[in-house]
Point group: C2
Amino acid sequence: MYIYKVIKPTRKQEIIQVAATLFKEKGYSAVSMRDIAQAMHIKAASLYNHISGKQEILSTLILEVAEAFTTEMSAITAETLPTLKKIERVIEIHIDITVNYSENIATLNNDWMHLEGDDLKQVVKMREAYEENFRRIIKQGLSQGEIKPQHPEVILFSILSTLRNLYLWNEKRGKMDVNVLKKDMVAVLIKGII
Amino acid sequence: MYIYKVIKPTRKQEIIQVAATLFKEKGYSAVSMRDIAQAMHIKAASLYNHISGKQEILSTLILEVAEAFTTEMSAITAETLPTLKKIERVIEIHIDITVNYSENIATLNNDWMHLEGDDLKQVVKMREAYEENFRRIIKQGLSQGEIKPQHPEVILFSILSTLRNLYLWNEKRGKMDVNVLKKDMVAVLIKGII
DNA sequence: CTACAAAACTAACGATTGTTAGTTAAAGTT
DNA sequence: AACTTTAACTAACAATCGTTAGTTTTGTAG
């Protein structure tokens, strides 16, 4: 189906990957440049041959995954599908992105406020746009009677909370097949537990 | 129903409250003792007349709310109720505690790993016990047929994710009555959206 | 008014922070 | 072999960190 080409990551990408793992464990502010360097078995000053600073690591990590969400959500919005199918799609893309960007999502969720300048503005804007798209889907479902009459913000909040925290579950999920997880998650979030 | 007595908080409690607000905004590691002091219009060194250090603020904040959860969950476990009623109770106590301890929960969720020594061990233990209690309730519901056959970990994870993130929603909720929120949240989490 | 406790202050400490400058060693290219 | 690029290094910087010591101010009870 797909052809994969294994590309050796640049040194910069390696640094960002290592930093992401540390950020996920202890948070951006608690990880020093020396911590990142030590994890790569080099000195802190050497990092600056590849990156402009700590802030670049943060913004790269966050913008990468934020753009992934924005792209996928736009695609869903553009499609003509029943509301429930759209919500299913939202759940599925969250799971897909979480599997591939677990550390990025941890940093997006927990450390977005440490972004500076335009990066901060952009990420806040993307998040608001994302939520607004999701909100519209839910409201459409309500007005068309596909969704039981309930406070749309409660629905939005509860689904989004679960999806945004999937990254915390990536180890335990480990043995669970992604497609099974998607099916189960769709069932629980949409049809409830009784 | 209740008799409230307004007690003037000690200076120590004021410090912890102010620190909690800052921790919620930027996280424990990104808040300095000088930040906390400035928010109280005093100098950092003055804080040490009332507290032993930054770590004491963290552990006080976290242990306070962790014990609240443990106490309430034990009460639910001890009761003899149908599974669904128990899950309803879990949702309700989460909302109640979130309303009263919003900042503490933010710190518990995001900065527990910065606890040290026995405090860290104790909090991890309490969280595991809490999850295990919830898991048992769900499994009982499954075995008695009160809950649709589904992966118990998926149910546990999705409900708990939503409840643990309620603190993020405390402003928007603002105008929403607590009892209405409880009813809506129970409905969405248990009966789903269709 | 005095005495005492509470709570603020100034000044400084050693450690750690992100980052810069300048240099050196290895790897790849001509 | 000479040259260039890549990626490491040492040393150090100014700023900030949590915290301590010692002193002064403020508020309250006798």
